[in-house]
Structure formats: C-alpha cells, structure tokens
C-alpha cells in the first residue's frame, strides 16, 4: 500500500476512518479535555535522528556520568534504604525462567513463578506476624491507600485517621486516592517523645472511623508503641494499619501482627531491591484472615492437582478487575513480580538469624552515629523516643545548606525536612545502615560538628 510506513502500518485513511467513527475530525480533538496551556505546542524539542553508532556513543557518554558504585558516604533514608545485596540475589533473579515483571496472564502454566510468589507471601506473613499476604503491591504509598480502602470494606465508616508522623508523601498519596471515594481523612498528633499519641487517636476515634494509620518506625525514625495504639483502635471497633517503609527493622522489632495490628502494609524495597532513580519499588500488604476476600491485588495459593501433587494457582482472582470490571476489589490486576522475587531470594538468603543480625547491625551503627552527634556541641535531637536506623538531628543552621556543603566533601548527610515541613529548616533526617563503615560515620559527625 503506498504511503504506509515500514514499521508504522497505520495509514492516513485508517486514521481518518477511526476519528470519524469516534466523532472527531482531528487527532488533537482527542485531547480537548486537557487545558490548552498544558498541551505541547509544536514539535517536541529533541535532536534529530542519529546513526546507530553515533547514538550508542551519545548514550555511553551519558551513562559514564553515573557513578557506580557511588563513592560518596550516604546517610539518606526517609522511605528508601541502601542495603547490601548479596550476589546470589541478582544471579538467581536474572535466570530467564524468572525474569518477568509480572505474574503471567496464563498463570498456572508458570508454576515456578507462582511458587516464588507463594514463598514471598509466606515470608511476608512470617515477618509481619499476620495470616495473609498478597502477591505484592506497586510501592509503599499507594499500598497504604489500598489498606485504608480494604479496612473500610470490612468496617464501613468512611473515615480514616492518619498519624501526623506518617511519611508526608504517603499521606499525600492517601489523600489523592481517597479524594473522590468518599472516605474522609483526618490526622491525629504525636507526643513529646516523637511517637503517635494513643490518647489523641482515641479521641479522634470517638466520632467513628474505619481505620487508624500509624507508621512504624515512623517517618522521623521513632519506634511506635504499636500495642497501645492497637488497643485503643480495637476498643473503638476500627482496624489498625501499621505502615512500614524499612522492613529490615522487623529483624529487631516485634511482629506488628503479634502486637495487635490488623493490617501491615508498606514499602519492601529494603529487602534486597537496589536503589535506583524512580524505582521500581515494592509494595506489600499483609492482613488478618478476616480480610481474605477484601484484599486488593493477586493472591497465590497452594493446591493439589488431580493426582494429588502440589501445585500453585491464583486464588480469588474472580474479584480482580479483568473479571469483575468496575466492581473489582481494586484496580490492581498484577504484582511487582520481579521485585517480589528479589525480596524472596533476599529473605531466604539471610534467613531468620541473618535478618536479626542485620537489623542489630543497622541499629548499632545508627546508635553509634547518634552518640557521636550528641557529643558535638550545639546540636539538638527533637525526638527522644527509641529509633531503629534513622533519627532527626537539629542543626545550628539550615539543614539544606549543610547538605550542600557536605556534598562537596563527598558526604550525602541526610534528608532536610524543610522539603516537607517549611518550619523545620534546621532539621535533618539521618539514616545509617550496614553500608556505612565506622570511619564514614566519624567523618559525618566531625563535619557536622564543624559547621
């Protein structure tokens, strides 16, 4: 056919026919709902085509700007954590039988993938102390929103209470999710030691809510009193959602499920998924058995075939979007397959004692950093509560300035909190993991002390 592109076989005539059928005259009409000023006017400002050899040279030049491994001392946390990934993780992950980002759409033919997901679910249940885990979620923030929706399906009160110590980005995501669903979002405050206040939660619960969301350890690093919060939540007939974004802490902390949490949800990137700009990240969601038919996403179950042999299946998929359309439990119809596999291999590699050792190692180093910084004059620590591997230090001057100055010396000192809280200009969230040698921590303390 004349005028047809070799790789883009759509002809002008076909395009016109489709537009006509849809009731439009120009392709631009399809974007009419997007305000004019937000639309791209004219052509995209990109350089013209390059020969393959020139293109490769260009991309290699850009790639060379990356520093791998990054030689700088890093103390960044706040929802994304740098941990050592044992070589076996990547080695197994890259086997082609496993190398897929999704649960397959003809799932039962891929028994190995389903078994890996089943093991992920089992390990997450063991880690959180709960009965059920799904096959994973996209990332932490949206998982918390899904947990709130799930709690409201079990106890429909159309209201959730967020601890003001929840990651501010998670809180924003929750508000976005719930804005048009008719579930009200209210926050409750914290105590002087930096932890969520069970009394304020109880007061807020008096007017009725389906769930209470508390991050543990919280955004500022404090370990929460989960048992007390669970007691006040239970008394009011609501569900306690414990949001976590540093799963390594569970090697040291009590399983929230055993402390009375109804749902444990959040970010599992810390379980062996490397840091990279923009992800991918790994959401997880675990809950009590009562939530079984209210869980979002996929669930892999162990079953027996006609000959009595063990096999794995997708269970409860009748509630998913591809079958139940707009009445589905959630719009999630897949999982973070590859990242969930990463986490499974990582957890299996470390084992129970390895997870405990790693958690102790993280805490010991963070505690050492805190002790070193406490010895420096003029610094303050707003939250006296126990912490796991991160805490807030209040500097003498601007935290953002300090971060800039230390970056010049090869130290990424932490996350300035003014980014989220404009009135906390001097506060820096510092995270220390097993990746920070003692000498690095000493350098950080010395440089901050000298500011």
């Amino acid at each position: 056919m004349p005028g047809v592109h070799r790789y883009l076989p759509l002809s002008e005539a076909e395009r016109a026919a489709m537009l006509k059928a849809a009731g439009f005259s120009r392709p631009e009409d399809l974007f009419a709902s997007i305000p004019e000023k937000l639309r791209l006017q004219g052509a995209l400002d990109v350089p013209g085509p390059l020969a393959e050899q020139d293109l490769l040279a260009d991309l290699q030049g850009r790639a060379a700007e990356n520093r791998v491994p990054d030689p700088r001392a890093q103390f960044l946390g706040g929802g994304a954590y740098r941990h050592y990934q044992p070589s076996i993780v990547d080695h197994l992950l890259q086997r082609t039988e496993f190398y897929s980002s999704y649960t397959p759409y003809q799932p039962e033919i891929s028994q190995g993938t389903l078994q890996a997901v089943f093991e992920f679910q089992t390990l997450i249940c063991q880690l959180t102390g709960l009965d059920l885990s799904n096959a994973s979620m996209y990332e932490g923030a949206s998982s918390v929103a899904e947990a709130i929706l799930m709690a409201d399906r079990l106890t429909p009160k159309k209201k959730t209470l967020l601890s003001d110590r929840l990651h501010p980005e998670y809180a924003r995501t929750v508000r976005t999710y719930l804005a048009h669903i008719g579930i009200e979002v209210q926050t409750f405050g914290h105590r002087a030691d930096g932890t969520a206040d069970p009394q304020q939660a109880a007061q807020a619960l008096a007017s009725g809510a389906s769930s209470v969301v508390v991050q543990h350890p919280n955004f500022f690093g404090c370990v929460e009193e989960v048992e007390t919060l669970a007691a006040v939540t239970k008394q009011a007939g609501a569900q306690l959602i414990v949001a976590m974004n540093e799963p390594i802490s569970l090697g040291l902390l009590k399983a929230p499920g055993a402390q009375g949490a109804d749902i444990v949800v959040g970010e599992a990137q810390g379980l062996g998924v490397p840091l990279s700009f923009g992800g991918p990240y790994l959401g997880f969601l675990a809950a009590r058995a009562a939530f079984m038919r209210h869980m979002p996403g996929r669930l892999v179950g162990e079953a027996k075939d006609v000959d009595g042999r063990r096999g794995y299946v997708l269970t409860l998929s009748t509630r998913e979007q591809h079958i139940r359309r707009e009445k589905a439990t959630s719009n999630i119809c897949t999982n973070e397959g590859l990242c969930a596999l990463t986490a499974s291999i990582y957890m299996a590699t470390l084992g129970k004692t390895g997870m405990m050792d790693l958690a102790r190692h993280n805490h010991a180093k963070a505690a050492y950093a805190r002790t070193r910084l406490e010895a420096a004059p003029g610094l303050q620590f707003p939250d006296p509560a126990p912490f796991f591997n991160e805490f807030v230090v209040r500097l003498k001057g601007s935290a953002a300035d300090a971060v800039r100055r230390l970056a010049e010396k090869g130290i990424l000192a932490g996350l300035p909190l003014a980014r989220y809280f404009p009135d906390r200009d001097r506060d820096l969230l510092v995270c220390v993991t097993e990746m920070n040698p003692k000498a690095e921590i000493d350098r950080l303390a010395d440089e901050i002390g000298r500011l």
């Binding site: 038919r293 009748t318 079958i323 139940r324 009445k327």
Partner: protein
Amino acid sequence: MSADGIYPDDLKYTKEHEWLEARSGRATVGVTHYAQAELGDIVYVELPQVGAAVVAGEAFGTVESVKAVSELFAPASGTVAEVNGALTDKPDVVNRDPYGDGWMIRITMADPKEVDGLMTAAQYRKYIEDEAN
C-alpha cells in the same frame, strides 16, 4: 440452560434471578435454581449484617463461584431481620437447595405491596426461556 429447573409457584422472582417468599410483612430471599446452575460451584456468599437497610433493585451482597463474583440484588426494600449464617461454612448449600437451606436473608419489608411488581413462577420461566433464545 433452559427453564427446566424447579420454580415453585408460591415464590416471586426478579430479573436478576433472586426469589422472594413473602409472609406477613417479612420476605425470605435467595437465588433461583437457574442462577445457581449458571454460577456453578458456589464457594462464598457475602451477606449484610442484621439491621442493615436494603433497597429494592440495589445490591445487598455478593455470591462467588469458581467462575465469577456476582452481586445479589434485593427484590424488596426494608431492613435485614435475619441472615443465613450457615452459608459461611457451607456455601454449596445454595447449589443443592436454593429454595430451602440455601436461603440468604429475611427482610422486614418497608412496603409489602412492592412484591406485586415481581414475576410469578410462570412469568419467570418464560423470562429465562426468552433470555436463552
């Protein structure tokens, strides 16, 4: 599937394949023989709590089979007076005995005249025959 199933004459029927038996202002509700046969093996029935309000034509619960999850629609408006809790552990009773032990909820009807708008057994039988064609 045709109308070969059993459709007792003393019941009323809806287009969504629920049956209703009205007795002195109270209505017992379940799904028809046709519905359970179309759904296949029923594995879970989700019902409202006693005291919940139901509205004629609106969903009051779900029924889940190995093939699909379907809404249950209330044939009449009112308040839930009783729920068949036995279905939690034995949902397959709906397949075996849809008009007896497979009943789902009892409604205290807001307006007993509402049932006059529902189909008789003969009308329902014709309705599913037409649907099948």
